[in-house]
Symmetry: none
Amino acid sequence: MAKILIADDEDKIREVVREYAEFEGFEVVEAKDGMEAVEKAQSNTFDAIVLDIMMPRLDGFSACKKIKEVSDAPVIMLSARGEEYDKLFGFELGIDDYVVKPFSPKELMARIRVALKRGQKSQNRSDIFRYEGLVINVTAREVVIDGVKAQMTPKEYDLLFYLVRNINIALSREKLLEEVWGYDFYGDDRTVDTHIKMLRNSLGKYRNLIVTLRGMGYKFEKGN
Amino acid sequence: MAKILIADDEDKIREVVREYAEFEGFEVVEAKDGMEAVEKAQSNTFDAIVLDIMMPRLDGFSACKKIKEVSDAPVIMLSARGEEYDKLFGFELGIDDYVVKPFSPKELMARIRVALKRGQKSQNRSDIFRYEGLVINVTAREVVIDGVKAQMTPKEYDLLFYLVRNINIALSREKLLEEVWGYDFYGDDRTVDTHIKMLRNSLGKYRNLIVTLRGMGYKFEKGN
DNA sequence: GCTGATTTTCACCGTTTTGTCATAATGTTA
DNA sequence: TAACATTATGACAAAACGGTGAAAATCAGC
């Protein structure tokens, strides 16, 4: 589960955030001021960081800047609707989002969840592909079709996973041979066709997610 | 500059957003309800889309879902702090951000700017050519005309992509034959003409983006 | 080394694509 | 405007292409 850092000098706020966050299933670490936040963030194990702006020892902006040097976790700022309010919109510090005080804990949680999701999207290049009843889990090397685990040959998996990892990208037969079969494969282009055929059969009603690009190759395409 | 779509049934809101957005240098298109928003979004030329939730004919959630089918522009929702407020947090619709009414236009602009920035990072813009309702995606080997995927022959794609990659550059028939057909093609110059003809037909109302340079060759020209 | 599973090659075949050419249309120049 | 040069277009036969099934080759476990 996700681990988040909450930095605020008001005990009450930390307490409320912790309560809600743990209810959401997050692991929570607290910091009482900017310095402490920076120190704890050094470990770089957080999935998201919530910083109050007005804090003793080191303010939220400065803390954010320091933290961004070592971590790429999303940072959400807590701001009072006051003088620093405008500063937020510079977003030069790499702030990912902000919540205005007084805030609803529910909203903060929502924003944390969104920030986490966003991070995953850009990083984990969609390790799991879902489309209707089709689930392709690349790391688990597993394909589930309408609730039934699909039984495929190794090459089919390799080919499918490569296609999915390069979703919406046109791939020539040469490229596929090189990437899936290996650079040392000296065989017929048409081998790819045969495996595409088998893969399509294995995919059943989802066969048309693999699109033929005539004169070019193939492409895995997110269905419409 | 970025082009944004603002959909809200209240004239006053659209007016204010337009004013601020144009001040920011954005090109603004308005929609009075969800239906209109979806229709206008079909052109797929927007860099960001702002949707009110409560709208006649089609609500913001449904509109968002429809729009996400054809466009990958970030969607920012406008919500009243009320009953639909919680729904936002599902974020299953692919909502990128939201702003709670009554909002400060400044904040909305900031969020739009952030959404745009985020979008640029994840996509490789250079490979995608957009002009009005025409989207040419070279890596996906896909051409979308007013929301409809175009069906072209391999040579048409190759020729089009080469022209687009050399936008605003005059290309002789010899050059085109060498680059698109290959150096080992020993055929008639006029072959190019025929393929330009077919390509123009495939491009429909965008046919005149391909300009004939009499006595010289052809050129793909970004319309003004 | 036997056996069954997997991978690769290959040729057939219906379709699509392509290059050429004759003719029409359009632009250019005197 | 006439004469010429260049480009657009439609038609069509040849070539290219991809889906497929089957056979051959290879591999893996025993």
